[in-house]
């Protein structure tokens, strides 16, 4: 039932597959393409771990069928580091303890990549609102918010904030 020819450009590379209509975009990325950086936490649109960019806009890839993305350009977490070099945001996550187990991180990075693209100088409140669709069970969000604000500053050409010894630690 329901097989469909589908072509999706992922991180700049075009992929053609014949897939079942019920295959989610998340499973297409993970199982068909082996791009397991896109995580699945809940598969019903609550946790945000599966967030990817579809034609430049964030979307939960567990709530889209691959056939809906036919002809689209998708960016996953694997597409953020150009030539193996961490993006500014990824580096800021490292420097500010923006992750612990890392399960939520791909979704966090994609969500914040969109935010920082559209808003060069987000307030802390705006960062926190942007993150309401992404759950993290480890960090308590403080390091993630700090990383986002730090990355925004670096992208504006400011100097990276010195990671203070207290940041994200103390547990």
């Amino acid at each position: 039932m329901g097989k469909q020819a589908t072509r999706i450009t992922v991180n700049g590379k075009s992929h053609a597959r014949v897939v079942e209509a019920r295959l989610t975009l998340a499973d297409f990325l993970r199982h068909e393409l082996g791009l397991t950086g896109t995580h699945l936490g809940c598969e019903h649109g609550v946790c945000g771990a599966c967030t990817v960019l579809v034609d430049g806009h964030t979307a939960r890839s567990c709530l889209m069928f691959a056939v809906q993305a036919n002809g689209s350009e998708v960016t996953t977490v694997e597409g953020l580091a150009a030539d193996g070099e961490l993006s500014v945001l990824q580096q800021a996550f490292m420097d500010n303890h923006g992750l612990q187990c890392g399960f939520c991180t791909p979704g966090m990075l994609i969500t914040l990549t969109e935010l920082l693209r559209d808003n060069a100088e987000p307030s802390e409140a705006e960062v926190r609102e942007a993150l309401t669709g992404n759950l993290c069970r480890c960090t308590g969000y403080a390091g993630i918010v700090k990383a986002a604000l730090d990355a925004a500053q670096r992208l504006r050409g400011g100097t990276p904030s010195q990671p203070s010894p207290a940041s994200g630690g103390g547990r």
Partner: protein, 289 residues
């Protein structure tokens, strides 16, 4: 957590979509998918055919026609949130949209999908209730127009026939200078509201109310217009006492109780949030206090 198998259809024209809906057995419309796909993943919903309206251009677009803002049903919530037309003509809609889910779901979710899903706690049906929106429904039998009061029939129930789709939504544009207010209470930003209120006020000389609309949502099984509050405000000078007295009518809306909140608490919220929404609307219409 995987949906049951189905056949996928992606029509490009309204007519083609209407024919598919009329002929395919056990068929459902896929709009933005932000409510439907979770239900399919849980297998609460099992369909044989899915008709994706995402490629039907006739269902998109936004235009001002005869004093009404006409919005294609497949307009994404995020597009409306950032639309200058919506901000200028129907600011209540713009404000409500910021509370709808999260950026990631608003990028996909559509206004038509939200109205057809008819969750009692959803923001967009409440906005349509406040504006007395008119919905244009399409099927192989043609188009028909249904006022929102007749469209919304109860808990997740609408006047849509099984083979019908929402084509467009028309919101009457209130006089420039009118005020709007929107408040909801949710446990976390982006969660479904336990209760909320949407208000519109048109205020003339001497602070006299020329027109008032108040809708509460998340309280009953569908959004409810608080007619008694509107009647109490209209034709009289507005002020904080008038707002307090009028909003008391929200207490009369018969509430639902569930695991998220009891009926009495929802009633309390409806009243408090109505005061806040009306107060914002009055302030934006140029009246303080």
């Amino acid at each position: 957590m995987k949906p049951a198998p189905f056949d996928y259809h992606a029509p490009r024209h309204l007519k083609e979509a209407a024919e598919l809906l009329a002929t395919l057995p056990n068929v459902k419309i896929l709009a933005g998918g932000q409510s439907l796909v979770p239900m399919m993943n849980f297998r609460y919903v099992i369909v044989d055919h899915l008709v994706d309206l995402g490629h039907v251009d006739d269902l998109r677009g936004i235009a001002v026609i005869d004093g009404r803002l006409r919005i294609g049903a497949m307009m994404r919530q995020r597009d409306l949130e950032t639309s200058p037309e919506v901000a200028r003509h129907c600011p209540l809609l713009a404000e409500a949209l910021r509370h709808v889910g999260h950026r990631q779901t608003r990028n996909r979710g559509t206004i038509g999908g939200s109205l057809a899903h008819a969750d009692p706690a959803a923001e967009l049906p409440a906005v349509c209730a406040a504006y007395d929106a008119v919905l244009h429904l399409a099927s192989i039998r043609g188009l028909r127009s249904v006022p929102f009061r007749e469209f919304s029939l109860g808990f997740m129930t609408t006047a849509l026939a099984p083979d019908e789709m929402i084509a467009a939504i028309e919101l009457p544009i209130w006089r420039s200078g009118h005020g709007h207010g929107f408040h909801e209470f949710a446990r976390r930003h982006g969660d479904f509201a336990l209760a909320g209120a949407a208000a519109l006020l048109d205020i003339g000389a001497g602070n006299v109310v020329r027109g008032a609309a108040l809708a509460v949502f998340g309280v009953a099984e569908q959004p409810v217009r608080v007619d008694a509050a509107e009647a109490a405000l209209t034709g009289k000078a507005i002020g904080s006492t008038a707002i307090q007295n009028a909003a008391a009518a929200a207490w009369l809306v018969e509430p639902i109780s569930d695991i998220h909140a009891g009926g009495d608490y929802r009633r309390h919220l409806a009243q408090v949030l109505s005061v806040r929404a009306l107060t914002d609307a009055a302030r934006r219409a140029g009246v303080d206090g």
